[in-house]
């Protein structure tokens, strides 16, 4: 019993100290849950390099993050969507680009789809692979869940106002979509470009060309492959002080290399 009490005291002391550490946070970053995991990785490194600067991260979604930055609850808002009309006056910086790959099973003979065909598949106007040059088999479409940033990017970039068909199988992560596609010849799905590349221990998937353009980082950077979105940092005014220091780190060679390692596309090649 005594031991239990002592353990509890130690545990609560631990909690108290971790709360105190959060209290010293200098920069608060808030917003898109698509950007969040990447920023978490950056922050881990940043804390090691610059222990004197603190950074706190919160989710909540792109719109909530931008709102938080405008209202001063956060220093930086993370957004995985383009700024809308009302937000044009804000200062923003692209921290990385995230491509979307359309993936199928490697044994599927189809290599290329037009944007129109892709849209027709996801609205189920095309339901058989033979209609797009494949074998005679039903197409099983796979999508992400409502609210996911990847789904909304696909919706905006591909669907042109139409809705993904309700018969679509829904999986709640990039990894689950990849897993399903790599194990079934008749499926089609969309995931982050970096995750479509071969990975040790995982069965491969084939990333389709769109209108004859291969989904590569180069083609995203030169603008020929259209399925990508920018991850933005948004704030009311240009950053300075410790906020600026954090953003400088992300845009530095080191920060960008970290993001490339996680499968994102560096913005340094495009903006220069």
């Amino acid at each position: 019993m005594k031991r239990l009490i002592i353990t509890l005291i130690i545990l609560s002391a631990g909690f108290a100290s971790s709360c105190a550490a959060r209290g010293e946070t200098n920069v608060i970053v808030s917003g898109s849950t698509s950007v969040l995991p990447y920023v978490e990785i950056l922050v881990e490194e940043y804390r090691i390099l610059y222990p004197e600067y603190g950074v706190g991260i919160q989710g909540g979604g792109s719109s909530a993050g931008i709102l938080a930055a405008v209202s001063g609850f956060a220093d930086i808002g993370m957004s995985s969507r383009a700024l809308n009309e009302d937000e044009r006056d804000l200062w923003s910086s692209e921290i990385a680009l995230d491509g979307l790959a359309i993936i199928i099973h490697p044994d599927n003979p189809v290599d290329n789809l037009s944007m129109q065909q892709l849209r027709d598949i996801y609205t189920r106007r095309i339901t058989n692979w033979s209609e797009v040059g494949g074998r005679d088999a039903r197409i099983h479409i796979i999508a992400r869940e409502a609210g996911s940033g990847t789904r909304s990017a696909f919706q905006d970039l591909v669907m042109e106002g139409e809705v993904i068909h309700q018969r679509a199988i829904v999986q709640n992560s990039n990894g689950a979509v990849r897993q399903l596609v790599s194990g079934n010849r008749d499926t089609i799905g969309f995931i982050s470009l970096g995750l479509a590349e071969p990975q040790p221990g995982l069965r491969p998937v084939k990333a389709l060309q769109l209108d004859g353009v291969a989904p590569t980082r180069e083609n995203v950077l030169n603008g020929s492959y259209g399925l990508y979105r920018a991850f933005l940092f948004v704030m009311p005014e240009a950053p300075e002080g410790y906020v600026g220091h954090f953003i400088d780190y992300i845009l530095s060679e080191e920060g960008q290399q970290l993001l490339i390692g996680e499968g994102l596309i560096s913005v340094s090649g495009r903006i220069g």
């Binding site: 719109s63 409502a146 609210g147 709640n172 008749d186």
Partner: protein, 283 residues
Amino acid sequence: MKKFKEKLSGRVFFVLALSTISALVLITVFIFVNGMPLIAEVGLFNFIFGMSWAPEQGQFGIFPMIVGTVSVTLGAALLGIPVGICCSIFMAEFAPAMMKNIFRPAIQLLAGIPSVVYGFWGLIFIVPAISTHLGGVGMSILAGSIILAIMILPTIISISEVSLLALPRTYKEGALALGMTHWQTIRHVQLPAAKSGIVAGVILGIGRAVGETMVVIMVLGNSVALPESILDSVRTLTTNIGLEMGYAAGRHRQALFATGIVLFVIIMILNISAQYITRKKVK
């Protein structure tokens, strides 16, 4: 002093017991407060019988998910109930002591496996097997039903077995003395006498199937469309919440709480009927 201590201990237990009830009240109130505004806005009929679920387009109809829940649960019941009841009859009537000592802990172990492990096993084993042998993606009502049937077995077996064993010995002895065979005794005397307990076990098992989330997220495929066959993918009410809560905000979040209300009412009805049936037996 001693009297004071006695009184105090009573109070302490009362307060602790009260905290359980207040947790229930707190959760219930929270779910209803968060979910009711959306039901009021959309209309109860449109919410429950609406065919289209597209939260981003402002469409909140959960009928395909109700059908999904019912079909998967029905499938699990069809597969699980016969096996479960036969297993309990075997354990109560036929099994020699040695076999009982193997079966009983094994069934308890089955109940102790975390649901995520069942789901993972289903995803790696059942789903590809269905896809290979029956076609399609494999994520289907059938896959969910098979796994849920296994998961509800321990509940059905243990409650049915207990109610069979609880029958007075005189029932069995009387029937045998009248010249009935062992099977006739089970069929015409013991099963009817233990009926209410067995039914309660079945209902509690079904309640577990309705409330299960992790497994069905993994193997059902989560389409929001009415199924046309048992090889089609469906979404259940629990999955809808588990799948979309991560990003949901505003009305979308309210709609998930409203889904929770519907689920809450279904589970409530199942539990109350199980209680009602067991209580009737006591009288």
